[in-house]
C-alpha cells in the first residue's frame, strides 16, 4: 500500500467516479452510430475505469471485480459477436457483413444501423477485456503484508 492508496479522499472519489466512467463508456459505445464514439474508444474508457479501481484498491480487489477467467471469456465473446453478425448476413443470403441482407425489419437501412450497433458492442467487449487483462498481466505481484512499508 502506497501513500496514495491510503488517502481517504482518493479512495472516496474513485469509488464515486467509477460508475460514472463506466456509464460514460457505455454512452460512447452506443453513440457510435450517430456521433463521435465507437467500440474501440468506449471499450478503452470502460477498461480504464476498472484499471483505475484496481490501481487504488489493489490488484487483488480489482481481480474480484474482473477475474482472469471472465477476462478470457469476454475477450473471445466480443470477437465472436462480430464474426457471428457477419455469418448471420451470409445465412440470410447476403455477403459477409452485408448488414442490409438480414430481414429483421422492413427497412434494410434500420437493420444495418442496429447491426452496426451490435458490432460496436462486440468491439467494445473485446477491447475492454484485453485492456484489463494487459494491465493485470503487466502489474507487479501484490506484496501481501500491509502497512510494513512506509
Amino acid at each position: 500500500m502506497s501513500r496514495i492508496q491510503e488517502s481517504v479522499i482518493i479512495r472516496t472519489v474513485v469509488r464515486i467516479m467509477v460508475p460514472f466512467i463506466q456509464l460514460f463508456a457505455l454512452y460512447v459505445i452506443m453513440h457510435g452510430a450517430s456521433g463521435p464514439g465507437g467500440g474501440f474508444q468506449g471499450g478503452v474508457i470502460f477498461g480504464a475505469a476498472i484499471i483505475l479501481y484496481a490501481m487504488i484498491f489493489g490488484i487483488a480487489e480489482g481481480k474480484k471485480k474482473m477475474s482472469d477467467a471472465l477476462d478470457k471469456i469476454l475477450a473471445s465473446t466480443g470477437l465472436a459477436i462480430y464474426a457471428a453478425t457477419g455469418l448471420a448476413c451470409i445465412i440470410f443470403g447476403g455477403m459477409f457483413l452485408q448488414y442490409s441482407a438480414v430481414p429483421l425489419l422492413p427497412d434494410p437501412a434500420v437493420v444495418s444501423k442496429y447491426l452496426i450497433d451490435l458490432v460496436e458492442i462486440g468491439i467494445g467487449i473485446t477491447v475492454l477485456a484485453v485492456m484489463i487483462s494487459l494491465f493485470f498481466d503487466i502489474s507487479p505481484p501484490e506484496s501481501e503484508p500491509e502497512g510494513v512499508e512506509e
Binding site: G32, A33, S34, G35, P36, G38, D68, K72, A75, S76, G78, L79, Y82, A83, G86, F96, L97, Y99, S100, D107, P108, A109, V110, V111, S112, K113, I116, V119, E120, G122, I123, T126, V127, A129, V130, S133, L134, D137, I138, P141
Partner: protein
C-alpha cells in the same frame, strides 16, 4: 545524453510544426480529401446504405467491416499473446 534527447525532441517538434503549416485548413472545401470522388459518394449515399448518420462509423463498420473485424482480431491476439507470455500461474 539528456542534452542529446532534448535536441532530438526539439528538432522533431520543429519539423512537425513546419510540416503542419501545409495541412489544409479545417473544413476547407478545396482540400484534396474533399475533392476526391469517393468523398462525394460517401457523403451522398452512406446514410441510406448503412443507416447511420456518422459517416466515420459507416465507413468503419459497414464499408470496411471486414477490415475492422481484422483489427478486433489483432487486439484479441495481442491480448492473448501477452496473457500467454506474462501471466503468472497460481502454482
Amino acid at each position: 545524453m539528456k542534452t542529446l534527447a532534448l535536441f532530438v525532441v526539439v528538432i522533431t517538434g520543429a519539423m512537425l510544426i513546419y510540416a503542419g503549416q501545409d495541412l489544409p485548413a479545417f473544413g476547407d472545401i478545396n482540400s484534396p480529401s474533399y475533392q476526391a470522388p469517393m468523398t462525394q459518394y460517401f457523403i451522398e449515399n452512406s446514410l441510406e446504405e448503412s443507416g447511420v448518420t456518422n459517416i466515420v462509423t459507416a465507413l468503419l463498420a459497414s464499408y470496411r467491416g471486414y477490415d475492422t473485424l481484422g483489427e478486433t482480431a489483432v487486439i484479441f491476439t495481442a491480448g492473448m499473446a501477452v496473457m500467454l507470455l506474462l501471466r503468472r500461474r497460481e502454482t
